[in-house]
């Protein structure tokens, strides 16, 4: 009688599991493609593929209804590795299949690492503008920027997720506590009128006193943005310094003065600072003659490092990104009428893996086909002789 361990092993090794997982992945991709209409591409990836289970909300409780991409991909990976350990025998005649499978394992692992480690930011530059940071597409941060030093700004950046959890924050660089009184993932700002009967402003300092913050439903549409907002109270040892309204629609220009020090604060797209800067020297937007169909977008940028080690011009255009310091800068959007270019800035430590795995799979298939072909030719020759 088989032990439980052996049954467990047989389950992971079985070809039936492979077939079931492939069918499940087909269904998952089909459902996710349909749901893209409602959620947009990013939310679909998070819900269906970058998850162990697809969850449906029944009331407030998330209920798993289908295996997600990580679970199916993970099981496929285990299934394939297990099959090689226990089922397949490495022989010369099957070396092509072996190589193809190694390529597939690498592809699955590469996708897992990409999902876990890839970071996508953007850098919006007007012609002549220089920036040494990129900005997140989706994540925001509460930036509390000390401007007391005449040469440097000292930034304490609090991720939006902490505001959403209404965490009370005491940071060693700040002489006050930061308390989130209210947080809205999407909100409209309106100018407060002087009409009677309007509720008092929750903000007691800054421009928030002149604003009404109205929560809006979160949008998942690809061409719409969410504009989060929050009411932030700063509390010093002697008591409250005031409550500020912050929103990604307001610049980080509201000021706080306390104990002889000055700060600016505001909600902004999460920034990733670089040890180098990019200057947009020229944007070019070519159309096919006589049409409005884009032919090519290109951005001429200058990379400079503070130590002077790098100071060179680079042309970034479609399918010709700039790879620098572990980052890849793709030409993403362009507004040539206003001389503005948006570069997509991607950090993906495993970017080479898909190339290696596809080459391995192609080579493996070629080897396998070659072995069969030579065998077939040999057989025919022997038959003729």
């Amino acid at each position: 009688m088989k032990t439980i361990a052996l049954q467990f092993r047989d389950f992971f090794v079985s070809l039936k599991l492979t077939v079931v997982l492939l069918v499940l992945s087909l269904v998952l991709i089909f459902a996710a493609t349909l749901d893209q209409v409602n959620l947009g591409i990013w939310a679909v990836q998070e819900k269906y593929f970058r998850a162990l289970f697809v969850l449906w909300r029944v009331g407030e409780i998330p209920v798993p209804v289908f295996p997600g991409g990580y679970l199916i991909g993970g099981l496929l990976l285990i299934n394939l590795v297990a099959a090689h350990v226990y089922r397949f025998k490495l022989t010369w005649r099957k070396s092509g299949i072996f190589l193809t499978h190694i390529g597939l394992i690498l592809l699955l692992l590469g996708q897992l690492f990409t999902g876990l480690w890839q970071e996508e930011y953007q850098m919006r530059l007007a012609e002549g503008e220089t920036k040494n940071y990129s900005e997140s597409y989706r994540n925001n941060e509460l930036a509390i920027i000390e401007t007391t030093d005449p040469k440097f700004d000292h930034v304490v950046a609090i991720p939006e997720s902490l505001l959403a959890h209404k965490a009370e924050i005491q940071h060693p660089s700040l002489p006050f506590r930061v308390v989130t009184r209210a947080y809205y993932p999407n909100a409209a700002l309106q100018i407060r009128s002087n009409a009677a009967g309007e509720p008092p402003a929750p903000a007691t300092a800054g421009v928030g006193r002149k604003l009404i913050v109205t929560p809006l439903p979160v949008t998942y549409k690809q061409d719409e943005l969410n504009f989060p907002a929050a009411f932030i109270e700063l509390i010093g040892p002697e008591g409250s310094l005031g409550t500020w309204a912050v929103s990604t629609q307001l610049a980080t220009s509201q000021t706080v003065e306390y104990a002889g020090r000055s700060w600016r604060l505001g909600l902004r797209a999460q920034r990733a600072y670089k040890p180098f800067s990019l200057t947009l020297e020229k944007v070019q937007h070519d159309l096919y003659p006589g049409t409005d169909i884009p032919k090519n977008f290109s951005s001429k940028v200058r990379i400079t490092t503070p130590d002077g080690r790098d100071d060179r011009e680079v042309l970034i255009y479609m399918n010709n990104p700039l790879r620098y310091a572990g980052l890849t800068f793709y030409q993403y959007q362009m507004d040539s009428e206003h001389d503005t270019s948006v570069l997509q800035v991607v950090r993906n430590p495993s970017w080479l893996v898909p190339y290696i795995s596809c080459s391995l799979m192609a080579f493996g298939l070629l080897v396998q086909f070659g072995i069969h072909l030579t065998g077939f030719i040999g057989k025919r020759r022997r038959a003729i002789a």
Partner: protein, 214 residues
């Protein structure tokens, strides 16, 4: 071997995403120039709508922005686009001298948003001008019809303010919503931009074939 390996792999799959937990960061950067706040919030433009009557209630109400098929336009080359917002369909800075820019906004809200008079008076209120009566409207407004759209255009300025301000505005009913085009800022700059504003209005057309224009 696999029996021991499988749970480890699964646990790794579950736990690895936790490594991406976001943390507070703390760093120094060379001094940066902060972006300015909108003039309407910093007192360069009055925020109140004195004498706005029903318009003042409208300004304070929580109104969703219009959805559905929109309008398209081509902005003059020297207007610099700004990031649109939840309230704004389009946003431009119109450069003036010494950094005194004017602001051009495109917004849209469902329904008639209180009607022509209320909206015209809302704009007058922003310039601290007295409200108009229904009978004053024909004289105070210009009507333009182009690309199947019926615009109501106004040109108000107040030279009695410490810094003279002006508003060039247009509103147009489209597809069950009202669209507002407003250029506001220093009176001199807004006056100089009137031709560009009217040329801009000529470029406004339905993004998709119009379903209802009135």
């Amino acid at each position: 071997m696999l029996f021991r390996l499988a749970p480890v792999l699964l646990a790794a799959l579950v736990l690895l995403p936790a490594c991406r937990d976001e943390k507070i960061t703390d760093y120094r950067v060379p001094k940066e120039k902060p972006e300015p706040l909108p003039p309407i919030l910093t007192g360069q433009l009055p925020t109140g709508d004195a004498g706005g009557g029903s318009a003042s209630n409208m300004a304070g109400a929580a109104v969703p922005t219009a959805t559905g098929e929109g309008l398209s336009w081509t902005a003059p080359a020297h207007w610099k686009p700004k990031a649109a917002s939840a309230m704004r369909k389009g946003s431009y800075a119109v450069p003036g001298e010494n950094g005194a820019d004017a602001d051009f906004s495109i917004t849209a809200f469902p329904g008639d948003v209180g009607g022509e008079l209320a909206n015209v008076n809302r704009w007058r209120g922003q310039l601290e001008l007295p409200p108009l009566n229904e009978s004053d409207l024909p004289e105070a407004t210009t009507r333009l019809e182009q690309n199947g759209l019926n615009f109501v255009v106004v040109d108000f300025s107040n030279d009695k303010l410490a810094k003279p301000q002006a508003i060039l505005g247009a509103l147009v009913p489209f597809d069950g919503a009202t669209w507002f085009f407003k250029l506001s800022g220093p009176a001199m700059l807004v006056g100089n931009e009137k031709t560009a504003f009217l040329t801009f209005l000529k470029s406004v057309k339905p993004a998709a074939p119009a379903r209802a224009t009135q």
